[in-house]
């Protein structure tokens, strides 16, 4: 092997650069997750208006405030990454806290919406096809919000204990890309469920 290695001590002409594996890995995960969401969205669209009985999508109210919260959390998480890249640790923690807060408001709003639907409108996952597809699609998205909040919350806790440093910026960026994906999915879900589906 040593002789063989010696035979090719050619210096490579150009610098050898490859993409970051964290970013590539997250991109792959997003492709796979998108496929899962597409199947649920297709099921939602396919069953729109096919419920045999029970409440219809007309009972839904546009979740405008919570949507604004979720979408603006994309901006705050971007600033958090930016701040960490420039070693501004306090700013990072502040932006992260803002992101977690906005995400939690969104989740709280979803919880309230579901409570209202279940106890006042009588819509559960068993009621009809609308209930089945609505709770599974919105619930699938909400479960991704929870996963994202756990990751961001962990980063926030590390930040609060002073364990977050500039060399973690790329990892935080990977988490932030996941968060952007969750937000982008919400735009699709919002359009399909609350705008077109109504």
């Amino acid at each position: 092997m040593t002789t063989a290695a010696a035979a090719v001590t050619h210096t490579p002409a150009e610098e050898w650069k490859q993409p970051s594996r964290g970013l590539v890995g997250m991109a792959c995960l997003i492709v796979a997750e998108s496929a899962i969401f597409i199947i649920f969205v297709v099921a939602y669209i396919f069953y729109t208006g096919k419920s045999l009985s029970g409440p219809t999508p007309k009972i839904l109210e546009l979740p405008i405030f919570s949507s604004i919260c979720l979408l603006s959390s994309s901006i705050t998480v971007h600033f958090a990454v930016h701040a960490l890249q420039h070693s501004k640790l306090k700013a990072t923690v502040a932006w992260l806290a803002g992101t977690v807060l906005l995400g939690s408001i969104f989740l709280g709003a979803t919880a309230q919406e579901w409570y209202n639907l279940i106890y006042h409108e009588g819509l559960t996952i068993r009621t009809n096809l609308f209930g089945t597809t609505f709770y599974s699609l919105v619930g699938l998205h909400a479960s991704h919000v929870i996963a994202g909040l756990i990751m961001l919350g962990l980063a926030l806790v590390f930040g609060l204990f002073g364990k977050l440093h500039q060399h973690h910026a790329e990892r935080l960026e990977v988490v932030s890309i996941y968060w952007h994906f969750v937000d982008a999915v919400w735009i699709v879900v919002f359009t399909v469920v609350y705008v077109l589906g109504r």
Binding site: M1, A5, Q18, G25, A32, I39, K50, I125, T132, S136
Partner: protein
């Protein structure tokens, strides 16, 4: 594991000097891509024997008319478990096992991009397989109905609903496939990240071995095929446990939607399984023809093309549902189009053989068997792609014969070839060529007896999944021949297993490069040390080892 092996570990200390517990701990906690690859392959071999035994029982039952060796309910479980095991716990793991082992070695990397994710993916798939078989002990559930799943490997709705599948057997099926899906997505993600981010200097995408290219395509395909299946399994779970109505036809749910979701997975899955077989052929055929692969860029383009087209052919599994003339025409057309890139590959392999100095070693004869049989499998595929022909023969033994021709005649033959080719690298010892030739010829005879003649009862109208048949249908002689072929295949497979075990202890010492090959895995010792390469290799062409052996005329001058 320990830092000591990393520092001193030129050759791993022999297992005999350590306790059995230490060896076990090492394997259970390893994150080394080679060990994980071997565990994938080993678990797949165990499941292969189990699912092969199930196939033997099925053939025993069908050998003679009016047979009652096996009860109808048991028969349903056997074909369900045979199909599910072979696809999810033999096919996927063995291919991912070779990918895990070979991809980092071929691109000159130290390990996969995410070693711990790699271990997680293996274990989650493996426990998925155990969960499937645990159903035999625990699947009766509260109602005492059923043990193992008996809904068929594609588990059409509404058979899977609580009403028709009481107890927990279907849940074991769902959950085991769900787990296997998570593992597959994890490994695919790892392979993509490894290929894109871990290549050694000079290993441009245009210089990667074709095997690595094909694994990249397969992994990309896994994201968009396994995920829909995972989504559908979530829906089925919601139906069965929370009373949702996705596939509940009583409440307006659609059984056809499940078929779509399943086959959006199911057909590209065939390509997920067959592209690695192509990948092995791309490495083995040139080495034993003593020529570089013919048409490297065309091979890459054809592989990517197959990846894309395979996403638009799924409904040819559903012609008999009655999709209407528009979709029928589209899916017939798309299915026939996919024969084009596949044909390009076959021509390129033939052109690689053409004028080559062909060495008929065991891996090579298995590859040649693959070429011939895969061509025939493709031809019956084109026949079934025509919707009217499919209406006549859908759900018959003709279909069973067709896809077993692909899976056994194509994929399994190439997997055997890969074993004979890379076993020396993995263990340091050669497999016995004599036993290998016996394995090949017995298997070829058994394969053709079984699957050539299986087309005929299909043409005569024998439907799949029946547990027995009357004596006056004209199917008896054909089923007898088909079942007798199964015995040859079983004997050949046992010979192969014996060869694997015997050669591990008594095989000829292989050395680093027994085949005089050209890719990077042959530059390191056999088996490779845990760090793979003492010095990170640098490559200048598609055949780096050729360049090192022939510095006077390196490939780099001609590419």
């Amino acid at each position: 594991m320990s830092t000591s092996t990393r520092v001193t570990g030129h050759i791993e200390s022999p297992a005999a000097h350590r306790g059995a517990l230490a060896v076990l701990t090492e394997w259970l906690t390893t994150v080394d891509h080679k060990k994980i690859g071997l565990m994938y392959i080993g678990s797949a071999l165990v499941f292969l024997l189990v699912a092969g035994f199930e196939a033997l029982l099925i053939r025993l039952q069908l050998m003679l008319p009016n047979a009652h060796y096996i009860e109808p309910e048991t028969f349903n479980r056997l074909f369900t478990m045979h199909g599910t095991t072979m696809v999810f716990f033999v096919g996927m793991p063995v291919l991912f096992g070779f990918g895990n082992y070979l991809v980092p070695l071929m691109i000159g990397a130290r390990d996969m991009a995410f070693p711990r994710l790699n271990a997680f993916s293996f274990w989650v798939s493996f426990f998925g397989g155990l969960l499937l078989y645990f159903s035999y002990f625990a699947g009766s559930g509260l109602y005492g109905a059923g043990t193992a799943p008996d809904v068929g490997w594609f588990a059409y709705a509404p058979l899977t609903s609580r009403v028709f599948s009481p107890g927990h057997s279907t849940d074991y099926w769902t959950l085991s496939i769900f787990l296997s899906g998570i593992g597959s997505i994890g490994t695919a993600l790892n392979i993509v990240a490894t290929t894109l981010c871990m290549r050694c200097p000079g290993m441009k995408l245009t210089r990667m071995p074709l095997l690595v290219w094909l694994y990249l395509v397969v992994s990309g395909l896994v994201f968009v095929t396994i995920s829909p299946l995972t989504a559908a399994q979530i829906m089925l779970c919601l139906d069965r446990y929370l009373g949702a109505h996705f596939f509940d036809t009583q409440a307006g749910g659609s059984a056809v939607l499940w078929m779509h979701f399943f086959w959006i997975f199911g057909h590209p899955e065939v390509y997920v399984l067959v592209l690695p077989a192509f990948a092995f052929a791309n490495e083995i055929i040139p080495v034993f023809s003593r020529k570089a692969i013919f048409g490297y860029p065309a091979m890459v383009a054809a592989s990517v093309g197959i990846g894309f087209i395979s996403l638009s052919v799924w409904a040819h599994h559903m012609f008999t549902v009655g999709l209407g003339p528009g979709p029928n025409a589209f899916f017939t057309f798309a299915t026939m189009v996919i024969a084009v890139p596949t044909g390009i590959k076959i021509f390129n392999w033939l052109a690689t053989l053409w004028g080559g100095n062909i060495h008929f070693t065991t891996p090579m004869i298995f590859s040649l068997g693959f070429l011939f049989q895969f061509l025939i499998a493709g031809l019956t595929g084109v026949m079934l792609a025509a919707a009217p022909f499919d209406w006549q023969l859908g759900n018959s033994y003709f279909v069973v014969a067709h896809f077993h021709y692909v899976l056994v005649g194509g994929i399994l033959f190439m997997i055997f070839a890969a074993f004979y080719y890379w076993y020396p690298k993995m263990t340091g010892r050669m497999l016995s060529e004599r036993l290998g030739k016996w394995h090949f010829w017995l298997f070829v005879i058994g394969f053709h007896l079984t699957f050539d003649f299986m087309h005929i009862p299909g043409l005569l109208g024998m439907p799949r999944r029946i547990y027995t048949y009357e004596a006056d249908r004209g199917w008896e002689i054909w089923n007898l021949i088909v079942s007798s072929g199964a015995i040859f295949q079983a004997v050949a497979t046992l010979l192969f297993a014996w060869n694997l075990i015997r050669s591990y202890f008594k095989g000829e010492i292989a050395g680093p490069d027994p085949w005089d090959a050209w890719t990077l895995e042959w530059t390191t010792s056999s088996p490779p040390p845990s760090y793979n390469f003492a010095v990170t290799p640098t490559v200048e062409s598609r055949r780096p080892l050729w360049d090192r052996k022939h510095p006077e005329e390196p490939d780099a001058l001609f590419e």
